[in-house]
Each structure stands twice: as C-alpha cells, then as structure tokens.
C-alpha cells in the first residue's frame, strides 16, 4: 500500500469532476421539488441522457451536440412522468419508479452497438499561463466546460429562487397549490415546465458520466447516481448552495475510495465501493433532523376543483 501515491491536487480536481454529474441532476430535481413534485425517475432520466448524449456525440463527433441531445432526451422522458402525474393524476412515487425502470430498459435498447466505443473528448478549459499555475491552475482553470456549467447552474438557481418573480411563483406553487390556483397561477403548466427542466438536467448529468467521467457506454452505468441526486436534495434542505456542498462531499468520498483502491489499501474493494452509498445514508440520517424546509405540497396530487 502506498498512500503517498494519492496526490491532493489531483484528488481535489477529480473530486470536482466526480461531483458534477450528481450536482447537475440534483439541481434539476431541486427545482422540480420546489414546485411541489417528487420525481423519483432521476436515475431513469440520467441513464437515458447518458445514452442519448453518447450516441449523438459519437455520430456527430461533437460533444456539444451530445450534451444537447442528452438534455432533450431527459426532458422528453420526463414528459411521460409529467403526463402521468399532472394529467392522469397518478401517484408520483409509483410514476417515478416506473420512469426509472422504463428508462433503464430504454437506454439499454438504445445503447445496443455503442458498447466499447470511445466518445469524442470534451474540451477542457485551457488558458495559457493560468491553467499552468501550480495547484490553482489544475483545480480552478483546468476543467472541462461542464464543471463550470454545473457551478454556474447552482448560482443561477439560487438567484432564480431568491430574486426572480418566476422563482417566487414556483415556490408558491410548491408550498400551496390550491392557493396558487386561487390567485390565478397555472399550477399544472408551471409544474410541467419544472419537470421538463429537471429531466433536461438529469439528462445532462447522465451524459457527463458517459462522455466525460467514464467515458464510454455500459448498461446501467449511472449505478444509483440518480438516487444519490435525490438524496442530495433532501440533504441540501432544498437549498442550491447546499447541493454544491453535498455533491462535493459525495464526489470526495467517491474519489477517495477509488484512490484507496488504487493504492491497494487492505480493505476489500467491495467495501470501498459501497462506501459512497453508506455515507449517503449516514448523511440522510443526520439531515433528517431538519425537515422543516420540505415544500408543503411536495408529492401531493393537484386537481382543480373550481
């Protein structure tokens, strides 16, 4: 075992990469839940985004096209959920599960023939001088653009919820859909838009895994990241900046255990591999003391009665 092989700069840099997928997906789900909808289909939308992005990137040779396709794919799949829950008034828990099961099947089907292929690489930020700085260069200026997109997304979501009129309306719908309806807001329309946004972000997150983080396509490759994104929203008490914190925590655990595996530490690989999931549970338990922040209408079915 050689722990000195673990380079702290690389660790932090790769932590940021490891956190990005779950962060983007969690921000999407945060918006959905702030609108009062619980979509448990994040995993299904992520894996669908992963294959859509991968396939399009391979076909066109453009990672950008891939990411756009991933967002479109995730959003399209989320519309099934929106139809079920907003128009057919189906139970949100069941519909979310259905979306995940369906998405896993769909992605496996779409992904036939894409196994073992390398996708075009996503460009990194490369600013002369800055990116070459020791420590800072690698951590602050040396990432692919999606890492910065994720950070910008957190900031934008925070500002949207805090300052924008639309953000206020979104929160109002999530708090009390009957009151929002009585004031004349289109509850269903707002929720459908939120669900679509959540789907697009989950798709982006999935594509980040298949195009950047791994990068290749294998069935079921999201391996529960979508569920961790859901846990992250609870952990974050529905606050964007805490999603960032949670994602980095998760990313840190993931990267550290991978590094420990590589360093040949005397803990069996399986136990290291399960550690991110166990830590997620531990964090959920710690955070469950503070659940006052959950949007009051979360998961409730809305049917206009006047």
């Amino acid at each position: 075992m050689d722990l000195s092989a673990i380079n702290p700069v690389l660790l932090i840099a790769s932590l940021m990469v490891a956190a990005t997928a779950v962060m983007i997906a969690a921000i999407g789900e945060l918006i959905v839940e702030r609108a009062g909808v619980l979509n448990l289909g994040v995993e299904g939308m992520m894996i669908t985004g992963a294959i859509c992005g991968f396939a399009v990137a391979v076909q066109t040779g453009s990672p950008t096209a891939g990411f756009i396709a991933a967002a479109a794919g995730g959003a399209a799949l989320s519309m099934l959920f929106a139809f079920l829950t907003q128009f057919a008034l189906a139970n949100q828990v069941a519909s979310g599960l259905a979306l995940t099961l369906f998405g896993l099947g769909l992605s496996a089907l779409l992904g036939q023939g894409y196994q073992g292929i390398k996708p075009p690489s996503t460009p990194r930020l490369d600013i002369p001088v800055l990116s070459d700085l020791p420590w800072v260069g690698r951590i602050v200026f040396g990432h692919d653009l999606m890492v910065y997109f994720g950070l910008a997304l957190v900031a934008a979501t925070w500002a949207f919820l805090k300052y924008a009129r639309a953000g206020l309306v979104l929160r109002a719908v999530g708090e009390n859909h009957d009151a929002a309806h009585a004031l004349g807001y289109k509850v269903v329309r707002i929720r459908v838009l939120a669900i679509a946004f959540g789907g697009a972000m989950a798709g982006l997150g999935g594509a980040y895994i298949s195009l950047v983080r791994v990068p290749q396509w294998t069935e079921g490759m999201t391996a529960g990241i979508g569920w961790i994104a859901l846990a992250l929203v609870v952990f974050a008490s529905w606050k964007p900046w805490r999603v960032l914190l949670g994602a980095y925590l998760f990313g840190g655990v993931t990267v550290l255990q991978l590094n420990l595996q590589a360093a040949g530490i005397a803990i069996p690989v399986e136990y290291l591999s399960m550690s991110p999931y166990i830590i997620t549970i531990v964090v959920l338990v710690i955070m469950s003391a503070d659940k006052s922040r959950a949007p009051a209408s979360l998961g409730r079915i809305f049917h206009a009665t006047h």
């Binding site: 057919a88 069941a94 099961l101 089907l109 036939q112 399986e270 549970i281 338990v285 659940k291 006047h306």
Partner: protein
Amino acid sequence: MLRLEKRRQPSRAFAWATPVLAVVATMIFGGLLFAALGKDPLVAIRTIFWDPLFGQHAFYYRPQLLVKGGPLILIAIGLSLGFRAGIWNIGAEGQYILGAICGAGVGLAFYPMEGWFIFPLMVIAGALGGLVWAMIPGLLKVKFGTNEILVSLMLVYVAEQLLASVSLGLLKNPQGFGFPGSRNLQQYDSAHNAELIAGTGMHWGVAAAFIAVIFAYILLTRHQLGYHIRLTGEAPRAARFAGVSPTRLVLFCLGISGACAGLAGMFEVSGPAGQVTIDFNTGYGFTAIIVAFLGRLHPVGILLAGLLMALTYIGGEIAQSGLGLPAAAIQMFQGMLLFFLLAVDVLTGYRLRLGGATKEGEAA
C-alpha cells in the same frame, strides 16, 4: 377539450378493467416497438404471450411460469402491504440478496452434514436476513424520520457489493477451481429446495407465495391490522385518530416486506439458482414493484400479475433466442406496462368528459 371530473365513488368496474386495458395498450405499443426493431410485431407478441403456454415447447416452459412467478408474487405481496399504507420499500432487491446470502450461508455452514432441520433453519435465516436489511430503513425512519425510499434503495447497492464480496470470499466454493461463487446447493440434499412435484416447477418458494397471497387477503379484508394499513394509506390523520401507531405500522410493513423478499431470495438460491454468485440477483426485487402495482396492490391481482410478468420473462427469453429480440426490449416492455397502468388508473377515480367550456368541480 378533454377534462377530468372526480367520481363521487371510485368505479369498481374500472378497478378491474384498468389492468386489462393496460396490458392491451402495452401489447399494441410493444408491438409497435418490436416493429420498429424490425421484427414482426404479431410474431413477437405471440412468442411472448402464447408460446410459453401453448407453443411447441410449452411442456418445458410451463413450469417456468411458477419458478419465475413465485418470487415475484412473494416479494410483491410483501411490498403491497407497505405501498397501501404509503410506506415505500423499494429496496426489495437488496433484501432478496441478503435473504439468499443468509439462507445459503446457514446451509453451507452445515455442509456436508445431512439433517432434516437444515432446510427449515435456512428458511428462518433467509427471512431474518431480509427482515434485518429492511429494518435498517424502518428504524431510521421511525427514529430519525429518514426517507425510507432513499435508504432502502441505497442498501440495494450495498447489498450488491456484499454479494460480490461473499461470492469471492466467505462463501466461495473451496473446490471451485478459483471461480467466484458458492457450492451448488442443488447437490446438497438437506439444503436443496427441490421441486415438490416433479415437472411442475412447484417448489417451497412457490408454496410460500401462495400462502402469502391467502394471508394477505385475510389480513386486508378481515383483520384490524389490514384495515389500519388501508386507512393509513388513504387518510393518515384519520388513522392516527383511529389509534394506529405510525411507528409500529412502519416497522411491520417494512419488516414483512423484507422478510418476504428475503424468503424469495433464499428459496431461489437453494432451488432454481443453486448457488450464490456475483450476478445472482436478476432484478426480481424491482420487477415485483411493477407486479404489485399491476395487481392494484390487491393479493389476487398480484397473483395474476405475477404470473403475467413471469410470462413476459419466459416469452422474452424465447423471443431473445428465437427472434433475436434484445433483452432490453423486454425490460422496456415491462416498464411500459406500469406506465400504461398508471395512466389508465385515473379512470377509476375520475370520469373523462368532453368539453372545455366550464371547469369541473362541486358547488361550494
């Protein structure tokens, strides 16, 4: 414009009709999917739904119906009790794995001793394994209010790693030439969950599934606990008013669903599967969620839905080998079934009306 109008009473007719409608819609859209994949949709549908029962090799496939349906029904019955009460154990896959590991572990601990008591001990160990695994989200929920959906699901991934670990370590067959996986329990009489009637596929796990159906039916229709489960799902505040202890109900529902999943895993590992391997679990724990909903969380419905889902598994395998239909298409087909069920289920509680001039509702 179409609009929904809440029925004054849930429709009984639609409660029965919606699963049938969902199956028909799935067949139509599944057929379109198969056509898109370049297969003859009619042949594909016939291969999946007809051939396993009445085709040329039906004698081989019919027993498979019970072999595959048994665990699905057993798990789904357990899950349905919680789902009815709004307690969402979606980690049955993990409890299934733990049941298998514990059941097989107890059996292998006695190897090569023979004895009548070994199999019953394995059954108890399997049930306990699943129960304990499900108690983790249960206790965390009642103690700290932690979301049971996320915890139970996280534990699936933990269980999968645990399965890999024991297949490569603790339970590895010492005479297995280094291959991962345990001894084959089919070759160990005292631990073998053999067919009860040769050639039918009927083993102890299937018997347990049937017993679970009857037990759940009586519980839900005749017993106060079942009434309290239904009440909690429909109106949680009314349930507390009636005197239901939410804590006890959560532990009961999670415990029983975990035990059922654990039993299913144990019967599978000691019977049809035979050994603990890395890829022992095949997603029964997740498919059972579809089964539970497709059966409208009703014991008899789950029985029928479990058999139907088993049919799609078997038919799917035939279509895979015979028609070259990808396995993923079958998985999608099953997901689609749940979608359509949820979509048409709205008709049970609501009436579809034409016209958009007025909004729906009741006079206030």
